[in-house]
């Protein structure tokens, strides 16, 4: 009985710790995006979260780790669920076009990454953490397209890593323009551009017919 109670308490404390960590990530993401990464200290975050700075360091090694984890969580929630991760039966042209129409929902994610990019210019720890975080997502997206290259009808000559970076550049560049208050003309125009990029990766119809089956 005692063991069962201890086991239940242990699970609960793990769940509590996970919930606290998720709440801190969410709050840190909001504060870094709104006030600026360099302008937000661990103490500011602790005050907003109603915890001690020590409690935050119990979950995260430093502010750079907190930023990288906040970006990682939002990228997974807003892009990979939506999805750059490409489920097996998806039409990637439709997916990328839809992501274009949903660009306004990712505004805070973009602001966070732009904040991180600026801090990375002068802070080696932030640069290292964000480079690893970005690398992991880009590798996953590239692997998804490589795996399904034939099914998706992608041009065999297409450099998939370059194509993924191409789409990602548009997302991050939008974040830079938004940081000074410049918005895309319309959501539709943004989606149209994404659609054109995505279609340009495919084999032209005449070459599709000529491609021999393996």
């Amino acid at each position: 009985m005692t063991e069962r109670v201890a086991g239940s308490q242990g699970r609960r404390s793990v769940e509590d710790a996970r919930a606290t960590r998720a709440r801190l990530l969410d709050l840190a993401g909001d504060l870094f995006a709104e006030r600026g990464y360099l302008q937000t200290s661990i103490r500011d975050l602790a005050n907003h979260a109603g915890v001690t700075s020590g409690a935050i360091y119990g979950h995260f090694r430093n502010k750079a780790e907190l930023l990288a984890e906040a970006i990682n969580a939002r990228t997974a929630a807003l892009l990979e669920a939506d999805t750059m991760g490409l489920p097996r039966n998806s039409d990637y042209v439709e997916t990328l076009t839809r992501q274009g129409t949903r660009a306004p929902k990712r505004r805070r994610l973009r602001a966070l990454i732009v904040q991180g990019a600026s801090a990375a210019q002068t802070d080696e720890e932030t640069r290292t953490r964000l480079r690893e975080e970005q690398r992991a997502h880009i590798d996953e997206w590239v692997a998804g397209f490589e795996r399904d290259r034939e099914r998706l009808g992608l041009d065999p000559a297409l450099d998939i890593e370059a194509a993924v970076l191409f789409v990602w550049a548009a997302e991050l560049g939008l974040g830079v323009l938004e940081s000074v208050g410049i918005e895309p003309r319309t959501v539709k125009s943004w989606a149209d551009v994404q659609n054109r990029f995505a279609r340009s990766w495919q084999l032209p119809p005449d070459r599709k017919r000529a491609t021999p089956k393996k």
């Binding site: 210019q121 640069r127 191409f166 551009v193």
Partner: protein, 169 residues
């Protein structure tokens, strides 16, 4: 600021570098916020001067746009790229600096559209697309630091024009 970020800038550290008393700098600028703003306005003046030169030297068409943005991507003077991101970020908090950022990007957008006037379907809206792509390429390069920034920008913009069916001439 370029070496270690705006937060590390203080009257004390600056006084040591320029061999003036900290009190002299305090008398001149009053607060750290004023000092930061003055430094960022100077960075904007330099970037505007660089932009003016790039606009005058760059030719017409897609090739002219690529040349113009490569010139502004920091290959001539180390630190210019960092300046761009630093000053754009600081604009978030200061309306005066934010307005400089908006004016700079609007001017560049117009310069892009002027050079792409012969694009199929017209050039309206292309300035925003090109600048978005350029700034994103710079941001990714900042994380990866792979290869020369000028080659990355050239390749990325050339690819963009090819995919949008825009002639480079």
């Amino acid at each position: 600021m370029r070496e270690s970020g705006p937060d590390s800038l203080s009257f004390g550290t600056l006084a040591g570098r320029v061999q003036l008393a900290g009190s002299t700098l305090v008398q001149r600028f009053g607060t750290k916020a004023n000092l930061l703003r003055a430094a960022l306005l100077l960075a904007w003046d330099r970037l505007d001067a660089d932009t003016d030169r790039a606009l005058k030297r760059a030719g017409h068409g897609g090739t002219g746009v690529v040349e113009m943005l490569v010139m502004l991507s920091g290959q001539y003077r180390p630190g210019t790229f960092a300046d761009q991101l630093l000053i754009l970020r600081e604009d978030l908090r200061d309306p005066v600096l934010r307005a400089r950022g908006q004016a700079w990007l609007a001017m560049l957008g117009d310069a892009v559209e002027l050079r792409l006037a012969d694009a199929p379907g017209g050039s309206r809206g292309l300035g925003e697309i090109v600048l978005t792509h350029w700034q994103g390429t710079l941001t990714i390069w900042g994380f990866r630091r792979r290869g020369a920034i000028s080659s990355q920008v050239r390749r990325s913009l050339t690819d963009l024009f090819d995919r949008l069916g825009i002639s480079r001439d």
